[in-house]
Symmetry: C2
């Protein structure tokens, strides 16, 4: 699918493998390396050439997730303009990574090694800071803590990713559904 100047026979697209793995592991977290390989359309041997083992694969997924979250945060310019708009930009920017984040968010097993923990806390802090800014500016209600709003954002991203994967929500509605629910809630607004 992506032969961009590589020398010989299509050298496995690392990014594609990781995304396939995330999509599979999200709905079947006990999947075998063999199943992961098949899902990515490569052989187990090749999968093993790129990732020494399941741990290495998961850590690679985590690194990718952290990198994409950071990139999305950068792209969303969380310190500019109304906080609500920044949240919308963030959700929109993170949409392509939703399946990956859904897997990482639901696999707290990673917190055992205390390894990449630092990467996540930094992201948590940046998102929480955005919500805190919105509270300070009077945009967001103050009876929901920034920590909870951050957590809820993760949860809704995961729900949205699964809903799309299983066809319960149209892909084009992904950002809208999450944004509107997180910011506006289910109740009908009687003004504005």
């Amino acid at each position: 699918m992506s032969h961009l100047g590589y020398p010989c026979l299509m050298p496995v697209d690392r990014d594609h493998v990781l995304r396939s793995a995330a999509a599979l592991l999200t709905r079947k977290s006990t999947a075998t390396m063999d199943e992961v390989a098949k899902a990515a359309g490569i052989s187990r041997a090749t999968l093993h050439r790129h990732f020494a083992g399941r741990d290495a694969l998961v850590r690679a997924l985590e690194s990718l997730g952290i990198a994409e979250c950071e990139a999305a945060l950068d792209a969303a310019r969380p310190d500019e303009g109304p906080a609500a708009d920044a949240v919308r930009r963030l959700i929109s920017a993170v949409e392509p990574s939703a399946a990956l984040l859904a897997f990482l968010y639901t696999e707290n097993q990673l917190f055992e090694g205390e390894q990449q923990h630092a990467g996540w806390t930094r992201i948590d802090d940046r998102i929480a800071a955005l919500f805190r800014r919105g509270q300070a500016s009077g945009e967001f209600r103050i009876d929901l803590t920034p920590a909870w709003l951050t957590e809820a954002l993760y949860g809704l991203l995961a729900s949205g990713a699964w809903a799309v994967l299983e066809g319960r929500v149209a892909p084009k509605d992904f950002t809208f559904m999450i944004t509107e629910l997180l910011l506006g809630g289910a109740l009908r607004r009687t003004n504005q």
Copy 2:
């Protein structure tokens, strides 16, 4: 912990085992039967006496989750009074099962056997019907589909359960946080 007229040496509390398993499997879905047993404070032999294998354990978890969801729905009286109040009752009623539901919701691997699928669709339908009723009565906005609101409810329940388990949210705030975010959203209301 619970010796309620049983004959001999404390016969394993099935419910406690299932809840321990759910709590463990939620954060480490690849946990071994041995780890599950240790988490429940019993030996692997005893665990195996009660659940023939990992599959049987997971299916028991699923059955319990379905039963508790149905019970919570019954207790919440989803057809009575304002839909928003019914949603609040539902979230409150389902709180004790949150960790279990978090596990089941994130383990879509179950949908392979197409087994208990019927149980979940029934619950999905009942919850979606509640949201639909709220839309029909004008309480809820109509640009968020009942299916998505149902999905979001699951996601927020899972987020809430994890946030409590990891100490990021106080247990007593569980229902409030989920209810308020789902219904009201993060934006500050300018009226009411």
